[in-house]
């Protein structure tokens, strides 16, 4: 049959156009699962603060029923989805709402200069590479209200969005003694992990990586730094699935030999570890025994600490840390669906008082809050957390995700740390964090 659109009525379709890869990747099974109960809508932090987003159900499984070959993404309001993943987690019916929406977002047409901006925000290691040589200049530039206003107007980067400082020396240079291209030969030392530090630790917070390694070594764990690229999550969140897949395949190739040997792949960034555990398969559509092995071997840092502590001792002693801190579980950590291992571990530290954040999301959701059009929404999303932080009178905030740390530090006006820093304190390890404003 010749393909030709018939008629101009609302039901005319180009009947022979193939479904796009994204749309056919989730072939209706998932939208069939939805019983429309609106629990995801009730939990969605973005829908709760803006009427421009009707909620994950509306733009996800509900809109999917209106999908046609010529209209793979029926509802453009999915652009407002921050990708925080709360919806998938609260759904009692196995609907991968967040994943459907991330894929749907990737099918929206990209728009000019915004596409350029998204491309930049999606590439933290490249940005670090460009900025590192000029970082002494760069830092004041980043703070200049004039330049930030220009950046907002021209490329759409929110002028008040916080950005981290590029560290002068990346982690992999500081600890090149630990770099290993493949796992050590048999027999393995008793405890060994491959550390997936990710680009945020490598390029922006190398001291954190140093601390993590020192903690593990204190527990008698030998740490290797396998070859690795950016996990690709910022690319995936910014609709560049092709580039994300390239990073993913490269990481799989590097990490599979470790996973195969039963060596845990441990990460200190909850978004990197989530990408390895989940997004590679569920969103990028990678499959096969390699990714299954790597996903299974991947553990969040505190997830691994729990295993260490559950194993037979003796364990290093936890010294007191007389602080009152607010722990906020990042939305990516919750999407691991392992609860809050950091809390379970930190509870062992004498003198430490942990308040628990009641918020679903701090607001930044990766790169979402950095964008001009979403900045205000992101601030509103996180308002409850900031209020709780300030009202509780805590000494600081703990959160496992770097983007949450940078965002909450600015918006709550409290110092925001990775919980492993408290663990290091308790173990009496040196504080590797640079003085304010300086790299290591």
């Amino acid at each position: 049959m010749k393909a030709s659109p018939v008629g101009s009525g609302p039901m005319s379709i180009d009947v022979l156009a193939p479904l796009s890869a994204g749309a056919s990747g989730l072939a209706f099974f998932e939208s069939d699962l939805c019983v429309k109960c609106n629990i995801c809508t009730a939990a969605c932090p973005v829908a709760g603060v803006t009427e421009l987003f009707p909620g994950p159900k509306a733009v996800g499984p509900q809109a999917a029923r209106f999908r046609l070959p010529t209209r793979p993404e029926p509802d453009p309001r999915v652009a407002w989805c921050s990708g925080c993943g709360v919806c998938s987690r609260v759904c009692p019916h196995d609907v991968p709402v967040a994943e459907m929406n991330v894929i749907a977002k990737s099918e929206l047409p990209s728009r000019g200069v915004r596409a350029l901006r998204d491309s930049i925000l999606a590439r933290p290691p490249e940005v670090a590479r460009w900025l590192r040589p000029i970082r002494l200049l760069g830092r004041p530039a980043f703070r200049s209200p004039l330049l930030r206003a220009a950046a907002q107007r021209v490329v759409g980067i929110a002028r008040r969005a916080p950005f981290p400082v590029v560290a002068p020396t990346p982690l992999r240079r500081l600890r090149r003694d630990r770099i290993r291209s493949r796992p050590p030969a048999q027999p393995l030392p008793a405890r060994h992990v491959a550390y997936f530090h990710g680009c945020s630790t490598n390029d922006y917070e190398p001291w954190l990586g140093r601390t993590a390694i020192e903690i593990l070594e204190r527990f008698g764990v030998e740490v290797s730094l396998p070859p690795q690229r950016c996990c690709g999550l910022p690319l995936l969140s910014n609709a560049d699935f092709a580039a994300a897949r390239r990073r993913a395949r490269s990481n799989l190739e590097s990490l599979q030999p470790w996973a195969e040997r039963g060596i845990p792949i441990v990460g200190t960034s909850t978004s990197c570890t989530l990408a390895l555990k989940h997004e590679y398969r569920a969103v990028l559509g990678l499959s096969g025994s390699a990714i299954d092995q790597v996903a299974h071997a991947t553990q969040d840092f505190f997830e691994y600490m729990e295993h260490l502590l559950a194993a037979d001792g003796p364990h290093p002693a936890f010294g007191p840390v007389p602080l009152r801190l607010l722990y906020h579980a990042p939305c990516q950590l919750r999407s691991h669906r392992i609860g809050t291992p950091a809390v379970r571990v930190l509870r062992r530290i004498p003198g430490l008082q942990l308040e628990l954040s009641l918020a679903e999301c701090c607001g930044v959701a990766g790169t979402y809050g950095l964008k001009r059009e979403f900045y205000d929404v992101a601030v509103r999303v996180g308002a409850d957390l900031m209020r709780q932080a300030r009202a509780s009178g805590v000494d600081g905030i703990l959160t496992d995700s770097e983007t949450c740390r940078w965002w909450t530090e600015t918006h709550a006006g409290l110092s925001s740390r990775h919980p492993l820093e408290v663990l290091a304190m308790s173990l009496g390890l040196p504080d590797r964090r640079p003085r304010s404003g300086e790299g290591t």
């Binding site: 008629g7 609302p10 039901m11 379709i13 009947v15 072939a27 019983v35 209106f66 019916h93």
Partner: protein, 532 residues
């Protein structure tokens, strides 16, 4: 042309009308009983030929068999071997209907697929039949079909494209009703014929209006009995016995539109070998079960199991998808006394019966046929009534800005920053508050099921769990004299009927949530009182 001149009103069954009963008397050139596609087709044709027409329908538009079908506008290919006359009719009429009501037809195209399990020799007979009946066919590479329809079975031996399409029968019926009303015709919904007697060279019909309990009489020189499965009941009122076979067909709608193209098995026609995309769903059809009464619409578990099993031959992953709802429609086929064929094998060509030899000149019955050939059937009937030529093949129905439901309309929006979308009453099917208000204003009906037929309200995955209450609120706010709950409990019961056959797994989860919301969260109970 005979005209009606009522001289006396005494009905021949001997019962005199009470003197104090107020009865409105109407007359028209033609009375049509039944506002399905056939009845409305007859009325439309007749109005174009200058006749005054009254159509009387006991339910709402689309409440009968025309609203209970699987949505297929046949290319005719299905019947080329078993019933070539029907096939030829369908092939011709398919093109005509597309011209008449383009906004009701989704030009999906159709595939005839011979799978590895189907008899290969049938294909050759089928191709020959297509040629003979004038049904256009093009052979395709199975790999191409699988690219177009990713869910179709890979076990394809041969594949063919035909000009099947999806027909929205509600749209068709509305368009026909509009056409009739626009030219001297009236369509009386929720009016039931209770008596039919010869009168002044024609017939006199006793009619009751079900909503306001008013009695009418209508005298007409011509009466067409197009009552679908009720043709026997109507004929019996006039003292005529019609030899009929009633066949009930069950259909299942799947929650999602799993195919964009009509899928047919290329094999001798049997139960469950069609899948038709219709709007946001696709329909598996159909079974064929003999029944005794036109109201017998019970659906049995084996029918559901059969449809899904058969459907899997076309879409292997069908079992992973959720069946949404099941319904049944009854067809009447003419079966002279000596015919023992099962109902599926009775000729589908329509049958026109003139009851003049039985002492009832002016009384005609039409039955059988398919919705695809409704216009042809109508033409045959009206040719008996009027000498003027038929013009329905070349007269498009009044083109209509679709006031009501449009697929996915609520999703057509300007970019997010400028949006001011309409209030949604039914989220699943995208039905807005203003659409509801417009539909209520036009129909004046407080029956939420009528609203459903107009708007697809409650036809999505939640089957009315949320929208019933919202629609009931609109009814209570807009119309006088409505039930205390705005019609919620009645609609809830109606929705429950169609999800019961699918109440396992996800379907059962959905049913329980629907029930919990109406009864526990909202406090629904069966309410009979009407607020006055």
């Amino acid at each position: 042309m005979r005209t009606a001149t009522p001289t006396s009103i005494a009905p021949t069954d001997g019962r005199p009308l009470p003197a104090n009963r107020i009865v409105t008397t109407l007359s028209s050139d033609l009375l049509v009983i039944g506002a399905g596609a056939t009845g409305l087709g007859v009325a439309w044709d007749a109005t174009l030929r200058g006749l005054s027409v009254t159509v009387v329908e006991q339910g709402d538009l689309g409440q009968g068999t025309s609203g209970r079908y699987h949505g297929l506008l046949h290319s005719g290919a299905r019947y080329v071997v078993s019933d070539p006359a029907s096939a030829a009719d369908c092939a011709r009429e398919n093109e005509v209907v597309r011209r008449l009501v383009p906004h009701a037809v989704e030009p999906t195209g159709g595939y005839f697929l011979s799978t590895d399990d189907d008899p290969p020799d049938y294909v050759d007979r089928w191709l020959a039949g297509c040629r003979g009946a004038g049904v256009a066919v093009e052979e395709l590479d199975p790999a191409q079909v699988m690219r177009q329809e990713p869910l179709v079975t890979p076990r394809l031996a041969r594949a063919f494209a035909v000009s099947d399409a999806a027909l929205d029968s509600f749209e068709l019926l509305h368009a026909l009703a509009r056409g009739v009303r626009a030219s001297r015709g009236s369509v009386l919904l929720r009016h039931r014929v209770t008596g039919l007697v010869p009168h002044g060279g024609g017939m006199l019909a006793r009619i009751v209006s079900l909503r306001d309990e008013v009695a009418l009489q209508l005298a007409a020189p011509w009466v067409v009995n197009a009552a679908g499965p009720f043709v026997g009941v109507v004929a019996a009122m006039a003292g005529v016995h019609l030899p009929l076979a009633l066949g009930k067909g069950t259909m299942v709608a799947m929650t999602s539109r799993l195919t964009q193209t009509v899928l047919n098995r290329c094999k001798p026609p049997h139960d469950g070998d069609i899948i038709v995309p219709v709007g946001t769903v696709c329909v598996l059809g159909t079974t064929d079960v003999p029944v005794r009464a036109p109201t017998d619409l019970t659906i049995e578990p084996w029918e559901i199991d059969l449809l899904i099993r058969e459907g899997q031959a076309l879409i292997p992953t069908l079992r992973r998808h959720r069946p949404l709802r099941a319904w049944a429609g009854v067809r009447a086929l003419y079966r002279p006394a000596d015919d023992r064929a099962p109902t599926r094998d009775l000729p589908r060509a329509h049958v026109l019966i003139d009851h003049a030899p039985e002492g009832l000149p002016g009384f005609l019955t039409i039955l059988g046929g398919k919705l695809t050939t409704f216009r042809r059937m109508a033409q045959d009937i009206v040719d008996r009534v009027s000498e003027r030529p038929c013009t329905t093949a070349i007269t498009p129905l009044p083109a209509e800005e679709r006031r009501f439901y449009r697929l996915g309309e609520s999703l057509r929006r300007p970019p997010p920053t400028q949006s001011r979308p309409e209030r949604l009453v039914c989220e699943c099917e995208g039905v807005t508050a203003s659409q509801v208000e417009a539909a209520l204003a036009e129909s004046g009906s407080d029956d939420l099921d009528d609203l459903r037929r107009d708007l697809r309200l409650g036809m999505g995955p939640c089957q009315g769990a949320f929208c019933t209450y919202r629609a009931a609120a609109a009814v209570a706010a807009t119309l006088p004299d409505v039930p205390l709950d705005g019609g919620l409990s009645a609609f809830f019961r109606e929705r429950w009927r169609g999800i019961r056959p699918l109440a396992w797994g996800r379907g059962l989860r959905q049913a329980d949530i629907l029930r919990r919301i109406q009864i526990e969260a909202l406090g629904a109970d069966p309410v009979d009182e009407v607020v006055r």
